[in-house]
Assembly symmetry: C2
Homo-oligomer: 492 residues x 2
């Protein structure tokens, strides 16, 4: 095995980068800012996709696929959206390469093959999709239109980090069309709720649900609902957003429907997305100095079995026992790997699965055969125990549930300890600088104050929490009247 | 419902285009040559993906994800591959838009934001992947490396048709690395076999397995193994290919491994892919003048139930019966839809599901309640029968299997009737022009003859069939000696 990870205490950012690479999740590629998602990392994404896709379909959404490219004239049609993304667009200008006369064997862009209209590689698909919806929506009978797309998108970010911020990333983007404002609002809140259920129930990552302030909204949205998680270093992570788009895109692309009453009305829209960024959140919620810690519900391998043997005879006897265990576990839908490679010693295997965050490790040796036991180690607490081989599958099924719950509770405890209410700006700065985490404080509702606070502390308004009560107060920064406390934090 | 489809007899190509759009599978987009895959079409793709992905994983492959973009210097590294794709590459040259000073509210490419090196939108990923594998492979212990990617690719085709040839399409591309030539050859043939099993067993589309002639090989391959299907209009469709790449990419990207004996060796490679083109093949294998005909194993809806009622009381009674049927069918894993919309009459619903190719349609009315029957229509033969409600789920389970088999047998019969052996060029031309289908003929093995035949008949060598025996003969065109018959056809 390669040498130990940098500890989180030493350098959290370095720890993260090392862990992503050493645990075989992803790596940087030859393309600036784009990552390669390695099989182990991709397997986590597949598990995430499967659960989300199921939840989307259960709530009536269907998948479809729209073009990667957005012609510039469509891209610029909804001005706020275009303005928001213009600075980070990859643009296709040519459609052919040719032999380079100056460099034999090399190619160059064929200057004759210039596109009449440049194509933007989608940073998000509202424009191309709403241009398509124009043809799909005529009558109230065509609504609601509930569509999701699994796709890659490109945003030419200057500072990138594996999973958290990459020039290309994978995501899903839902795009729905509704007859009424109320329906669209309900949809956008429903999707926020689904994201929260996924984050907490599967990722074991507690989130605060809330609405974005105007300056933090998606470009072109009238409301952005968000789920905000807290990472171990005290920084927040925006983990998923759901946008109420009003009639902005319907107006930009002239999408109207005939109502039951025979009137022509603009359609109401939502869009919502989560991305491979979630994997970054998963890592920074649970992992430790020994490596990844994965919640069982998203772990590609939930149980690994390592044989401890001195000779082939022993291995044969162990393998026989293990094959029954494996079959019992698989019957329960538990994914299990029997690592009988003879090229690695047990100690190296233990370290590997620790690094890769496999929730439960079973070691079984000759003595265990005699005593009808196995040694069982849980990744979350690093505790070991000797348990009977009888009813092992039942035991592990319960244990996996325990681990899932323990991870959530542990993360929630940390998160709850790191929501600090403050009543003046000195306290605010102190918490942001020294303790970290979320700060709950009154805000006067102006962008000037938001900007000034960001300028001085790097903290931004993460959200106006859904459960934030209306109460008279004074802004922590300006001293002006405030109606509500909002949540601040430094963020990824 | 919209008016009837153009018949296949009238204009096969028009029939196809109309059917794809009217059955809600896909449509052209605002981007030249790129399609929108609509939810019903995408649901078929999801079914295909699920089966293929399962087969890939069962044979030890893992999924991963590599960047969309290929830096030009990597793209051109393997010269044959680069040459083969250079003419159809979308190229990203800039990474930012800005306000257009001449057109207020509009955007233009920011001339300052030119990339130092142009990025090719992947037409296929050998280059970016082999550049990555260089870092992953050091020792024989790292081999074989068996990786697959589900992704979008872009090939700037000039003449496009929905599903069959589009500028952007969805596909999977497997890229494997092996220690020996033999292993790589076995892998590439295994994947051809998996594609054939999928085509015949799930798509009910018979295929001929064979090897491509040199001129028809994938750019950069040493062998291309293909599965070739026959469409109803007598034209062939290349449905999937698996390439033995030799050490070409290993050499271009300097990917070596240390063998057990401690020697440095270049790695052997394969790649293989199938795409959304398969949906075009599915349509042109089974469908008829009334619309789509889908094999049950890939039909998003396998059974539709349409109630026939005069009043709500009748509908309630019918719905009660139907809910039991639905639950019985779902228990068997059969996907079923109860279409109780009151906005459409039964006749319109029948036409819709006929158009959409739902394999089994059940109609149930008040009289059926009395007689404990349903009316059952199968889409493949358009036959109707009255069957008992008792054991209906068992009956339908068998029926779906029958339909699946019938579709395969029917397509195979047609295909077999359209493999014509010829011994001279007059016959060859006659069959290609008048009867259509595959022509089996001796070929002298030269590219000149291939080109001349293509020039005169538009037929190309589809493959040298795996089961083609070695036998002395004379080339159907040149009269020169030939060792083997090969398969010609006009092709999509």
């Amino acid at each position: 095995m390669s040498k130990k990870l940098t500890t989180r205490e030493e350098d959290y950012s370095k720890w993260y980068n090392e862990l992503v690479v050493k645990a075989d999740l992803a790596e940087n590629s030859a393309v600036r800012g784009c990552m390669v998602i390695k099989p182990y990392g991709y397997a986590i994404w597949e598990k995430m996709q499967a659960e989300l896709d199921r939840m989307f379909k259960e709530t009536g959404h269907e998948n479809a696929y729209f073009p990667l490219f957005v012609p510039k004239s469509l891209f610029e049609a909804e001005e706020k959206n275009a303005e928001g993304f213009a600075k980070e667009c990859a643009v296709v200008t040519h459609y052919r390469l040719q032999n380079d006369p100056d460099r034999p064997g090399k190619l160059r862009v064929d200057p004759e093959a210039k596109l009449e209209e440049e194509l933007v590689v989608r940073p998000t698909s509202e424009a191309i999709i709403w241009n398509t919806y124009k043809g799909w929506i005529q009558s109230y009978r065509d609504l609601p239109l509930l569509i999701n797309q699994w796709a890659n998108v490109v945003r030419w970010e200057m500072r990138t980090r594996l999973f958290l911020r990459t020039a290309e990333f994978l995501w899903q983007e839902g795009h729905t069309a509704h007859a009424t404002k109320k329906e669209a609002l309900i949809e956008s809140k429903q999707m926020q709720e689904i994201y929260a259920i996924f984050a907490e129930g599967f990722m074991a990552m507690p989130v605060v649900k809330g609405a974005k302030s105007e300056s933090e909204r998606f470009a072109g949205a009238e409301e952005t609902y968000t789920i905000e998680a807290l990472m171990q270093d005290g920084k927040a992570l925006q983990a998923g957003t759901s946008h109420f788009l009003g009639q902005n895109f319907a107006k930009a692309f002239d999408v109207k429907y005939t109502s039951k009453e025979g009137k022509q009305e603009y359609v109401w829209a939502t869009s919502w997305g989560v991305s491979t960024r979630l994997i970054g959140g998963l890592i920074m919620t649970h992992s430790d100095d020994f490596g990844l810690v994965l919640p069982p519900k998203l772990a590609p391998i939930q149980v690994v079995i390592v044989p401890i043997y001195k000779n082939n005879e022993q291995l044969d006897l162990i393998s026989e026992k293990v094959s029954v265990m494996v079959s019992d576990l698989r019957k329960k839908g538990i994914s299990v790997k029997f690592d009988n490679r003879d090229t690695f010693r047990p100690g190296a295997k233990f370290a590997e699965y620790e690094l890769k965050g496999v929730p439960v490790r079973i070691a079984i040796g000759a003595r265990d055969l005699e005593s009808n036991t196995v040694e069982l180690a849980r990744r979350d607490t690093l505790e070991k125990q000797t348990v009977s081989q009888d009813h092992l599958a039942d035991f592990i099924e319960n244990l996996l549930e325990d681990i899932q719950n323990n991870l959530f509770n542990r993360a929630k405890e940390y998160r709850d300890e790191h929501i600090t209410e403050v009543s003046n700006f000195e306290e605010f700065k102190d918490v942001i600088e020294n303790k970290g985490g979320f700060v709950l404080a009154h805000w006067d509702g102006t962008e000037e104050t938001e900007d000034a606070i960001k300028e001085q502390t790097k903290a931004t308004i993460r959200c106006i929490p859904n459960d934030s009560k209306f109460e008279a107060g004074t802004c922590v920064f300006s001293g002006k009247p405030s109606k509500q406390k909002v949540l601040f934090a430094k963020a990824y």
